[in-house]
């Protein structure tokens, strides 16, 4: 496995007078969470292989403010937003790609009225575009015939009507895409959104991620595919709770593609 990845920063490119094609917004989970870091690296490997000119903000990146806003702390959200916008605008960023639907939604929808307008795409949309432009090729061999179910992240699906890009990519892997009973517009949340990731759930009779994992397991999948680091955590925990981790993997779309290509 190739472990060398090339991750240029905006600061280094800027000092060379270069402007990348796209800024990769890594996000807090992608930067710090051990599981999500693997997704980040898988995505970078694909970008490297496709020779995409990209850069990250690195230490200049900060939380978009999504969990603060959804918790009700509008002030903290807007402080985060305007500081990030100052950095993004200073680097004259035009296009942003991110593997986190929460960052995606906030950057795309909530930054413009605060002075930050960019073309923002989710990494599944970006990968699909690379594929259509022939910049990456996908070998399906490894996943041929495998049953893969896709869990729609709320902030990608319902929030922004992106349902097909991740599914198109799964189909390209020659995998058998199986849908859960609640999918697409009626997809059930993993339980992490609205800042729930960072707190204990209220009293109830079940955890939301268990409910969702049960729906996923009903499809008898080999792999539960996700497009969000938080969904990934919730579904992984759910699969562990059901003691299915030996037979069912939870993987991000970027990991599927990188692994199909032995990256």
């Amino acid at each position: 496995m190739n472990t060398n990845i090339n991750v240029p920063t905006m600061a280094s490119l800027f000092s060379e007078g270069k402007q990348p094609e796209v800024l990769f917004w890594v996000g807090c989970a992608g930067s710090f969470d051990d599981r999500a870091k693997k997704i980040t690296k898988a995505f970078v490997k694909i970008l490297n292989k496709a020779n995409v000119s990209f850069a990250v903000l690195g230490t200049e990146e900060s939380c978009t403010g999504d969990p603060a806003k959804r918790s009700g702390n509008e002030f903290l959200f807007q402080m985060q937003a305007v500081t990030n916008i100052e950095v993004l605008n200073a680097y004259e960023v035009k296009k942003v790609v991110t593997a986190c639907p929460h960052c995606f939604n906030t950057l795309k929808n909530e930054y413009p009225s605060l002075g930050g307008t960019y073309e923002v795409v989710h990494h599944t949309q970006f990968l699909k575009q690379l594929l259509e432009e022939g910049r990456i090729t996908m070998e399906g061999g490894k996943f041929k015939g495998k049953r893969i179910t896709f869990h729609d992240p709320c902030y990608l699906g319902r929030a922004n009507d992106v349902y097909e890009a991740p599914r198109d990519l799964i189909r390209k892997l020659d995998a058998e895409l199986v849908e859960m009973k609640s999918c697409k517009t009626r997809g059930l949340c993993c339980g992490a959104g609205g800042a729930q990731m960072f707190k204990e759930p209220e009293k109830g009779n079940k955890d939301i991620n268990i409910e969702r994992t049960e729906q996923a397991l009903e499809t008898k999948p080999d792999i539960i595919a996700a497009g969000c680091p938080f969904c990934n955590t919730m579904m992984t925990d759910g699969v562990k709770n059901k003691e299915k981790e030996a037979s069912v993997a939870v993987m991000d779309i970027a990991e599927l593609i990188a692994s199909a290509d032995d990256l």
């Binding site: 472990t3 990845i5 920063t9 807090c28 992608g30 930067s31 710090f32 870091k37 980040t40 690296k41 970078v44 690195g58 230490t59 900060s62 939380c63 403010g65 969990p67 603060a68 959804r70 918790s71 009700g72 702390n73 509008e74 002030f75 903290l76 807007q78 402080m79 985060q80 305007v82 939604n105 929808n109 909530e110 009225s113 605060l114 709320c154 902030y155 319902r158 929030a159 922004n160 009626r186 059930l188 949340c189 339980g191 992490a192 959104g193 609205g194 800042a195 990731m197 960072f198 707190k199 759930p201 209220e202 009293k203 109830g204 009779n205 079940k206 955890d207 939301i208 409910e211 969702r212």
Partner: protein, 436 residues
């Protein structure tokens, strides 16, 4: 003497419509208690949404059984009301079946025949609805917020519709001149034989009674709307027009906060500036009562017909948490009605009653259970947005009361201090690139 029925009819009509109009005025006043919000954008899209979602019922059929039954009642209701036009004209001018003197007999027969068939279909659909509400244990009709008045309200509406449809058919069946036409009596011809052998006079009396009860029933039903969840038959139209056009994930940025933040970031702002003496008291952040919400959110509350599709899709509710988006809407409406009554009782001004939406109706526990997943917004067949109310109330809890759960306070502290929801140093943000 011969004008007496006409005079009585006109008076009843004026009273019925007049009382309804005065209540509609109150409804408008209550909705306008909400804050201003600019919804003047993108009119073509708004008309399109109204045509598709309210008129075209596109969201209803997502659930095919209830959707199909609803379309029958909805179409039946609208079309049969054409008949009311004839009744009103007949009532005011003392004519009988004015339609016959305006329209060709076969056209008239076709119209009334269609109404009769629809009336039967409505009866069947209403029966199915009643079974769904009272016999089959459909979970969304059994939630804790659906006991008492909301449950009775749902049934009363169904009984109203049964009575009105039966009166319409009965009225046609006992109308000998109409039966003799033998055109349009598709259904009533099978009811008419039950009255064979009755004198012309008693048949006429029965026909008149049914006719009067029918129109009075319609006026009573019209006035019942204001006190009922059934207002959706009118408000679904403006509500879908004013519904959210932005991507569902886009929450509005609070402009008052933007001003504060801009001021903080402005190096030329005077850090010691004191507000002018006559400066208004700053508005509170977020919402603790209905008057802190915007008027579209209040319109949402009046439009809700308590179908519970939102609640049945809510991940928090599905897993046994207290949150129910339907209850959020019902609470908002009930509190708004209470505020409205307070204003009525106090000559047009609201006298503080020591109550508010937060705490007295909606608890913190409900608000903190939301995952902001938009399932409720997606599920609503009339474009109601319960999520926006939850978010506004969370904003009040955090920004005015610092009442966030402690875990969330830690998370926010981390963002403030090190730019991530976890306690990691911002300088370590790129470490992943060098880890194997």
């Amino acid at each position: 003497m011969q004008y007496i029925p006409q005079i009585i009819f006109t008076l009843i009509l004026i009273a019925g419509v007049g009382y309804f109009a005065s209540n509609v005025k109150k409804l408008f006043r209550n909705i306008k208690l909400g804050k201003a919000i600019d919804v003047s954008d993108n009119k073509p899209q708004r008309w399109m949404n109204m045509a598709k979602i309210a008129l075209g019922q596109t969201k209803m059929v997502v659930r095919p059984i209830a959707g199909f039954l609803h379309i029958i009642v909805y179409v039946g209701f609208i079309i049969i009301n054409i008949e009311v036009l004839e009744i009103v004209i007949d009532g005011i001018f003392g004519t009988h079946r004015i339609g016959l003197s305006v329209l060709n007999e076969s056209v008239y027969g076709f119209l009334i025949g269609s109404f009769e068939i629809l009336a039967v279909l409505v009866l069947i659909a209403v029966f199915a609805f009643w079974i769904r509400r009272n016999i089959i244990k459909i979970k969304r009709f059994l939630s804790s917020e659906m006991t008492g008045w909301p449950k009775n309200d749902g049934n009363i509406i169904l009984y109203f519709e049964v009575v009105l449809m039966c009166l319409f058919l009965f009225m046609n069946a006992t109308d000998t001149s109409f039966q003799n036409l033998d055109s349009g009596n598709v259904v009533s011809q099978f009811i008419a034989p039950f009255f064979d052998g009755m004198s012309e006079n008693s048949l006429h009396m029965m026909e008149r009674t049914a006719w009067w009860l029918h129109i009075v029933g319609i006026l009573v039903f019209l006035n019942y709307l204001y006190f009922s969840k059934h207002l959706h038959i009118l408000l679904a139209f403006p509500n879908t027009y004013y519904g959210k056009l932005r991507p569902k994930g886009q929450f509005l940025n609070n402009e008052a906060v933007t001003k504060e933040v801009k001021l903080m970031m402005d190096p030329s702002a005077d850090p010691f500036a004191a507000p002018a003496e006559d400066a208004p008291v700053p508005e509170k952040f977020g919402a603790s009562d209905v008057t802190d919400l915007n008027w579209v959110q209040l319109l949402n509350a009046y439009t809700c017909t308590e179908c519970g599709r939102c609640t049945s899709e809510c991940p928090a509710n599905l897993t046994g948490k207290k949150l129910s988006p339907r209850k959020i809407m019902m609470d908002t409406r009930d509190r708004l009605v209470e505020v409205g009554k307070n204003i009525d009782a106090n000559k047009g001004t609201f006298v503080p009653d020591g109550k508010q939406l937060l705490g007295d109706y909606i608890t913190n526990e409900e608000l903190w259970a939301c995952t902001s997943c938009n399932a409720c917004v997606e599920a609503c067949p009339v474009s109601i947005d319960p999520l926006s109310i939850i978010m506004d109330m969370r904003q009040y809890l955090v920004m005015e009361q610092s009442a966030a759960p402690s875990d969330l306070n830690n998370m926010m502290g981390n963002i403030e201090n090190n730019g991530a929801p976890w306690p990691f140093n911002q300088q370590d943000r790129l470490n992943w690139a060098n880890e194997s």
